[in-house]
Structures are given as C-alpha cells and as structure tokens.
C-alpha cells in the first residue's frame, strides 16, 4: 500500500487555541478521502498542513513521502483548492489558465481548456464576476490541470446550492477517474462527501475521532437495540460508541470486529454522528466505564 498522507502526533496551535491536537493518521494513496467534522473542528488546519500552506507547531506530516511544499517539484504533485476557491478577481478565466500554464511544469492545457468550456465558463469573463459555483469550478480546474498526484479540496461545495453540489461531486468522480489522482475533500456536512468518498476521517475539536476505509468502518460497527429488562451481551473487545435511550429502549452503536447477536448494519451517517456526539459530550472516564 502506498501512502498518500502520513501524520505523526501532528499539532497546530494558534496562540492559545489548539486547532489540531496530536493527530496521527495514515491515508492510503488513490482514495477519495472525506474529511468530516463540525465547523472549527480543525479540517481547514489539517488540509492547510497537507498543502504546506501552514507549518505544524509540533509533530510531522508527509504527503506522498515528503514534507508538504518542501520544493517546487513537491508543490507540483499536490493540487490544493482553499476554502471559498480564491481566484484573482481582475484576471479573466483565460488568464487564469495562462497563470496555471506558466507556473506548473506538467500543466495539461487541453484538459483545462476543455473543462472550462464544458463547465460553461467564458474565457473572457473576469474571475471576479463569476458565481460561487463557477469560481469553484475554475479553481478546481487549475488545481487538476497541474496534473499532480493528489488533490486537496477544502469545503469545495460549501458555496454551492444543493443541485450544484450533486453535479460538482459527480463531475469530481468522473475526472478523478480520468486523471487517476487521489483526493481529500472536507465538508462540515457528511451528506456532501458520503456519496463520493471511500475513506473517511472524522475530526472533532482538533482530534481525529475516526479514520479508515468506508467498507472497513461499516464492517466494524453495528447497531444494537436493547429492550427494557433485556441483558446486554457484547463480544470481547467490543466498545459502545454511543447509546441513546428513549422510552426504556436503548439504541447503541458498537464497534466490534465480530458482530454481536442481533446486530444490524449501520450507515455512514449513524456512524459519524455517534463519534461526533461522543466527542462533544465530554464523558468523564469513570462514567464511561459505567455505561459498559
């Protein structure tokens, strides 16, 4: 397995605020990685560290085996679209493609021209007058036409209406296929990424709560419902991630390699919510024990 991103005890501090706290992750190459978490969870910080826009306070990060943005050739391997897809307002769409061509040795101009045409971008229009969706398309085109090995997209669909989101993501899948690149994309809404990602990282409050291939994660988690008076029997090594009681009946999300008796499969949304809820309701350690 080649590794796209490896972080070791990665932390980033802004003044007194710890934006990313002791994050250790290994993300295989060639995946479409969804990075999910509430606003302020540290998603942009982690993506910024991946792109090399910012440097870590402590710990280390390697992207495709090297320190991010270490040199021009490393920059060429990673395409990054920052949040809100910044572009030069006074440059036209065509000029942005010239910019890309001048600044990137592996620039694929045919791809860039074709893609802007297909997305209905007028080459003579100034980027400042593009709609949010068009700007996102332009920024993505520039990042993709670099022909790097990894695309890092920070909230690429946040500015889009629901219809455009769906189209954007479907289009992303298409050209990821065409270019053969790995992708990391973040969103504060799981719904945005779950349609496309095959690897999931859940961040909350600067910490990784969950990370893994979607298939493995779904395999390892189960939903159990316990009726009042029923005794809970869990296999050895099982962990209750989240339990919810209503009317005496409790529903649990359990992590276990072997499915417990009466277990039902979970979907990605249940799973993510379970981890995020666990992260936000700060349960003291003894109480956690009592739940088990």
């Amino acid at each position: 397995m080649t590794v796209a991103i490896r972080t070791t005890a990665l932390s980033k501090r802004y003044g007194r605020h710890l934006a990313l706290d002791d994050c250790t992750l290994t993300i295989p190459h060639g995946r479409i990685v969804g990075l999910v978490g509430p606003n302020g969870a540290g998603k942009s910080t982690l993506l910024g560290l991946m792109s090399g826009m910012i440097g870590p306070t402590s710990g280390s990060i390697e992207v495709l085996g090297r320190r991010p943005a270490a040199a021009a050739d490393q920059l060429a391997r990673v395409g990054f679209v920052a949040q809100d897809a910044p572009v030069y307002g006074r440059l036209t769409v065509a000029e942005h493609l010239v910019l890309g061509a001048r600044l990137n040795p592996r620039w694929d101009n045919g791809f860039a021209v074709r893609r802007t045409r297909e997305r209905g971008l007028d080459p003579r229009q100034s980027a400042g007058s593009l709609s949010g969706g068009q700007r996102a398309q332009l920024a993505l085109t520039i990042a993709a036409a670099k022909r790097g090995e990894l695309l890092v997209l920070d909230e690429p669909v946040a500015a889009l209406d629901p219809l455009a989101r769906r189209a954007f993501l479907r289009d992303l899948l298409d050209f990821v296929d065409e270019l053969g690149v790995g992708v990391v994309l973040s969103s504060h809404l799981l719904g945005d990424v779950e349609q496309v990602c095959d690897h999931l990282v859940v961040l909350a409050d600067g910490r990784t709560e969950l990370a893994g291939d979607v298939v493995d994660l779904l395999d390892a988690h189960h939903r159990i419902t316990r009726r009042p008076g029923e005794e809970l029997k869990l296999p050895a090594g099982a962990e209750v991630i989240h339990a919810e009681t209503s009317g005496g009946e409790s529903a649990m999300i359990v992590r276990s390699m072997r499915p417990p008796a009466g277990a039902e499969p979970v979907d990605l949304e249940d799973l993510t919510l379970a981890y995020l809820t666990r992260a936000t309701t700060a349960v003291p350690a003894p109480a956690k024990e009592a739940v088990r």
């Binding site: 021009a72 920052a82 910044p86 890309g100 040795p105």
Partner: protein
C-alpha cells in the same frame, strides 16, 4: 511568474510610465528654458549684469524647480505606499496566496520575482525622473550652487533610486508582516518619512569624517555674503560662510585673531566705518583674523551620492532578506 507579476502590475506600471512621459516632456521644456536663459544672460556676463542675471534665474525658476524636486522626493514614498504595501498584503487579504502558493513555485521564488520586477520598475521610474530633472536644471544648479542642501542632494542624480528601492521593499515587508494593505501603507509612509528626515539631519554628514580647516578672513570671505555677529560675551562669530561648492556643517564659527585669542567688540571698534563699507572691510582684513571651517569639500559630492545610494540599497536588501525569512511562516 514574470508573466503573472507583469499582469498584476500592468495597470500601475502603465500609469507610472504615462506620468513619467508627461513629466519628461515638461522637464525637457523647462531645461530648454533654463539653458536659453543661461546662454542669453549668464554665459560670459560681466559685473553687475551678472549679479542681476543670477538673481533673475532664481526668481524665474525657483518655484517650478521646487515643485519638481518635491515631486521627485515624493515618488519613492508613493512607490512604497502604492506598489510596495499592497504587493503581498493584498494577496493575503484577498486570499489569493492560497491559489498562487499552491502552483509549482516556491514562495521564495514568487516573492523574489515580484520584488525584482516591480522594484526594478520603481527604481527605473524614479531614476529616469531624477536624471531628467538633474540634466534639465544643471545650469540652474551651476549658478545657484547649494547641491549639498538636503532637498537638492536628495532630488538629483542617483540617490532617488536608492530611496525608491528602500521604500518599495519597506512597503512589501510591512504588508507581509501586518497582513493588511491599509495599515501597511500607513506604516510605510511614517517609517519612510522618518528615515527621510533622519538621514539628512543626523546621518549623512557622518558617513565620511568632516574636514576642519583654518580659513583666513580676507576680502573674498567678507564678500561672500557672510555676517559677523557679536555674542553676549563680547566675542564675534562669523556666520554663513560656505566655501565654493562645499558642505558647511556649522553655520557660525568663532573669529580668532592671529595669536589665537577671541576677536572682541573692543577689537572691532576701529573698523566700524558705517560710511565706508570697503574701508571697513579692508580694516578687518588687515587685522589678520581666522576661523575654523568644518565642512565636507565639494569633491565629495559623488562620494556622498554613492554612499547614500549604497546605504539605501543595503537597507532594502536587509529588509528583503527579512521578508524571505518571514514569508516562509506567513
């Protein structure tokens, strides 16, 4: 990267080129007028006519030349404020750094090209303006002198190039550190103005050790427009002496007699001949007085021009070096 830098700076560079062209036309016209005046009234003039012509060239051209000088002094400040301060700050403000720093080019190279292309354009605009002004008013300068005067020195020949480079890099680095254009503009203006005040008043004269020379008071000295001032302790100072083309560092110097003692009111009384100015002067000359003249000789003009240019280029380089360190952690 050169293309992008040119594309981003195109509008401002074209405006500057247009303004420079307009100025050039005006300065060539002004230079023609000054040279014509010089050819008709001053070249080969004699006696009183010469004196009048010298007064007239001042009266005729002082105002226009002053305006051009002040404009030239302002140009580096404008370059620092309007080209330097937004250079990086605007990218940070509009978050386009996130776009451009993720192309296959390091930040250091990005900054280097931006600083070089725009900075050299700024230096060229300022340098051309300065050379045009210097050559246009060369006859005026020759007649009026005073090229070590703070305003004249700073608005002739090569030093304005140094000011422009310094102001530009200062603005860029201020923008990089403050991350916002408007505060960076303000800081650039204040710091540059402070440096432009500090250098002529406190720094320039110390770049080379001054020369102190004993000057005998003869008729030429007395006719050069000096004054004698009686101090409260009954001694005399000679005021306003400037040897031809030199830079006098003290406006007044105590007058001494041949034996080294102070020249007093008592000593001066025999020469007080209000009815006969020439006789009075001859009487003073006969008293064999002298004073100490602390100055930089005229021949040092280009030494000072080069030193000051080097000083400002050095400051610009130091600031740029800091900028390259800083941009890695922006």
């Amino acid at each position: 990267m050169t293309w992008l830098t040119w594309r981003q700076a195109r509008a401002q560079l074209l405006v500057a080129a247009g303004a420079l062209a307009a100025l050039a036309i005006y300065l060539v016209f002004l230079g023609g007028a000054i040279r014509r005046f010089y050819g008709e009234r001053i070249a080969g003039c004699e006696g009183q006519a010469c004196h009048l012509a010298r007064m007239d060239i001042r009266a005729g051209f002082d105002d226009t030349i002053s305006v051009a000088m002040v404009l030239l002094l302002a140009v580096p400040g404008l370059i620092g404020v309007f080209w330097g301060a937004p250079l990086v700050a605007q990218e940070l403000e509009q978050r386009t750094d996130r776009l451009v720093w993720n192309q296959s080019i390091t930040r250091a190279r990005w900054l280097a090209v931006k600083l070089l292309v725009v900075g050299l354009c700024g230096a060229a605009v300022t340098g051309l303006f300065s050379l045009l002004l210097t050559s246009s008013v060369s006859r005026y300068d020759q007649v009026v002198g005073g090229r070590f005067l703070a305003l004249s020195f700073a608005s002739r020949n090569i030093v304005p190039i140094g000011y422009a480079l310094f102001a530009f890099v200062l603005g860029s680095v201020a923008g990089m550190v403050l991350r916002r254009t408007l505060p960076a503009m303000a800081v650039t203006l204040v710091v540059f103005a402070a440096v432009q005040l500090l250098v002529p008043t406190a720094v320039r004269q110390h770049l080379v050790p001054a020369v102190t020379q004993t000057v005998a008071v003869d008729a030429a000295v007395l006719n050069s427009g000096v004054g004698m001032r009686l101090n409260e302790d009954d001694t005399f100072d000679l005021q306003g002496y400037v040897a031809d083309g030199s830079w006098s560092l003290d406006f007044s110097a105590p007058l001494s007699k041949a034996d080294g003692s102070s020249y007093t009111g008592e000593d001066a009384r025999p020469c007080l001949l209000p009815e006969d100015v020439e006789g009075g002067d001859a009487c003073v000359v006969a008293q064999d007085l002298h004073f100490e003249y602390t100055h930089h000789p005229a021949g040092r003009y280009w030494t000072f021009q080069w030193l000051e240019l080097s000083l400002f280029i050095g400051l610009a380089l130091v600031l740029a070096g800091f900028g390259f360190l800083w941009i890695r952690r922006v």
